[in-house]
């Protein structure tokens, strides 16, 4: 019997098969564990259609007396996302200076700083929100804190990577000149990394707009809470118009940050 002649690049073929085998094994295991049957979705197709056509469509406006409240809740969500990201960015900047062995004046602390950020980052924002709710009570302040924690931790990692990528060389040269740590920060790290920092900051705003909607749903206030109330109150047609409102908000913010990013890179 002749062996089949392979045609692909040898390494890639292996990766291909490995990827597919892992995917299939995972698929079988998880399907068995959860008893998930895609057929139930199709069987429930009628329920879907009737839900969408009867309850969902057409989108209805909330009572006119409530409209200003809904709009102000959108503003709360935006304000929450924006202010928490800015604060997180400022704190993350100062933390990140100590997060890289090559730049920090205390290289031994760098690992601890990064580990701390990793811990904060890998616990989802909503879990933080719940932990804080049980200690601080419900309110926008807690939503602010929860968003602050995750975006702070995310930006510490992103900023440390930016600093190591961009300014390791010029920090070394300023060290050779005899510049002090604050001088190195202001004269080398800040000018060379600012663009990178700002672009991560904009990314974080995009993420936080979505996250602040979710944190709002469980008690952080804002448009998330408004939506949650309508869904719990079975007013799905009103909920749909609020969903459209959220989508519009997110899309507009994404557009704006995209534009700003281009301007900054100029």
């Amino acid at each position: 019997m002749n062996k089949r002649i392979p045609v692909g690049v040898s390494g890639q073929k292996k990766m291909y098969t490995a990827f597919i085998i892992v995917a299939v094994i995972l698929f079988v295991l998880t399907t068995l564990y959860t008893n998930f049957n895609p057929m139930t979705l199709i069987e429930n197709g009628d329920a879907f259609v009737s839900f969408i056509t009867e309850d969902f469509l057409p989108p209805a406006l909330p009572k006119s007396s409530r409209i200003p409240g809904v709009l102000s809740s959108v503003l709360v969500t935006l304000a929450l996302a924006f202010s928490s990201t800015t604060f997180a960015a400022i704190f993350a900047f100062f933390t990140s200076l100590f997060g890289s062995e090559k730049v920090s004046p205390f290289p031994k602390l760098a690992k601890i700083v990064r580990g701390f950020a990793t811990f904060l980052r890998n616990i989802p924002a909503l879990v933080w929100a719940f932990i804080l709710f049980s200690s601080l009570g419900i309110g926008t302040g807690v939503g602010f804190a929860a968003l602050f924690i995750t975006s702070y931790a995310f930006m510490v990692r992103a900023f440390v990577e930016t600093i190591e990528d961009v300014s390791q060389d010029c920090v070394e040269s300023l060290e050779a000149v005899g510049a002090s740590f604050p001088q190195r920060v202001i004269q080398a790290i800040l000018p060379s990394c600012l663009n990178g920092f700002l672009s991560w900051f904009l990314y974080c705003i995009e993420v936080n707009i979505r996250a602040s909607t979710i944190v709002g749903m469980v008690g952080g206030g804002g448009v998330g809470l408004t939506l949650f109330t309508y869904i719990k109150g079975f007013q799905y047609d009103v909920a749909l118009s609020i969903i459209l409102l959220i989508a519009a908000m997110v899309i507009i913010v994404d557009r704006i940050t995209g534009r700003l990013r281009k301007e900054i890179a100029k």
Partner: protein, 282 residues
């Protein structure tokens, strides 16, 4: 008279009083990006306005800060009595995350093919798919899960279906971008040999975009897991439900253990993909 004195002293380079009289020598770049200072000022201004609008009661919040320490101390007193419940809910969460990822992967490739402008070349269809998925992507996942819960009732189906909406939308966009990054000349060359569009896609486009697809899938697993861990908190099952219910009933020991487990799994996924990325980059 005075002028000559000034001129004389100007020759002494270390005379400060004179150099102040001269025009200062600028040091900055000739072409500056004037946008960046404007942007930073605008950010600060907007932040101040936002904070004023939010009317957060900082004093009250600060007065309760010691409570956080107490809660953390209690969370750290792990309660291992509900271990089997935590573990099974964790497995359920991971399964839902993986399952939704795999279904979305297939859907994403299909829709990505439709949405990419250079594969099927039906312009109105790609525009339509792209705008539909832009909308789906803009709405946060828990909203979709909540709606699926209404349709399908409690169970993994709602979780998988809800997560799939957002993940598919994400994959459609990124895959379409990878497909479109393949040069038109390549496609033309294959088309000239008489190959059908679907077969071009399967034999040329898909293998070329494979490494990007794998990278995005890995990245998305991280997001999906953390989203999935959270779903329980808005009413679906899984480990999030265990955390929120135990926190609300002041059983901090169990909640603490579940949170640590969430962290551990998220951390492992992150490490795994950092390692894989390094290997691919080599």
């Amino acid at each position: 008279m005075e002028q000559t004195i000034v001129q004389n002293t100007a020759k002494q380079t270390d005379n400060n009083a004179v150099s102040k009289k001269e025009k200062k020598i600028p040091v900055g770049c000739r072409q500056k990006n004037k946008f960046i200072p404007c942007f930073m000022a605008g950010t600060v201004l907007l932040t101040v306005i936002s904070l004023m609008y939010l009317e957060i009661d900082w004093i009250k919040l600060a007065s309760r800060v010691p409570e956080i320490g107490k809660v953390f101390a209690e969370l750290a007193h792990f309660d291992f009595s509900n271990m089997d419940l935590i573990f099974s809910s964790m497995l359920e969460t991971i399964s839902i995350a993986v399952l939704s990822l795999l279904y979305s992967l297939i859907l994403g490739v299909v829709f990505g093919m439709i949405a990419a402008r250079n594969i099927l070349r039906i312009k109105w269809l790609s525009v339509l798919t792209q705008s539909l998925f832009t909308f789906l992507r803009a709405v946060p996942t828990p909203v979709w899960v909540l709606l699926m819960l209404v349709c399908l009732g409690m169970g993994p189906e709602a979780g998988v279906a809800g997560l799939c909406v957002h993940t598919t939308a994400f994959f459609t966009k990124t895959f379409a971008q990878s497909f479109e990054s393949i040069p038109d000349e390549t496609l033309e060359a294959l088309e000239a040999t008489g190959t059908s569009r679907i077969s071009i896609f399967v034999n040329a486009v898909l293998p070329a975009a494979f490494s990007q697809i794998a990278a995005w899938t890995g990245m998305r697993l991280e997001t999906n897991f953390s989203e999935c861990a959270v779903l329980g908190m808005v009413g679906a099952g899984g480990v999030g439900f265990v955390i929120s219910r135990n926190l609300q009933s002041y059983e901090y020991g169990t909640a603490g253990l579940a949170i640590v487990l969430v962290f551990a799994v998220a951390y492992c996924i992150e490490r795994l993909f950092v390692a894989i990325k390094k290997k691919i980059a080599q």
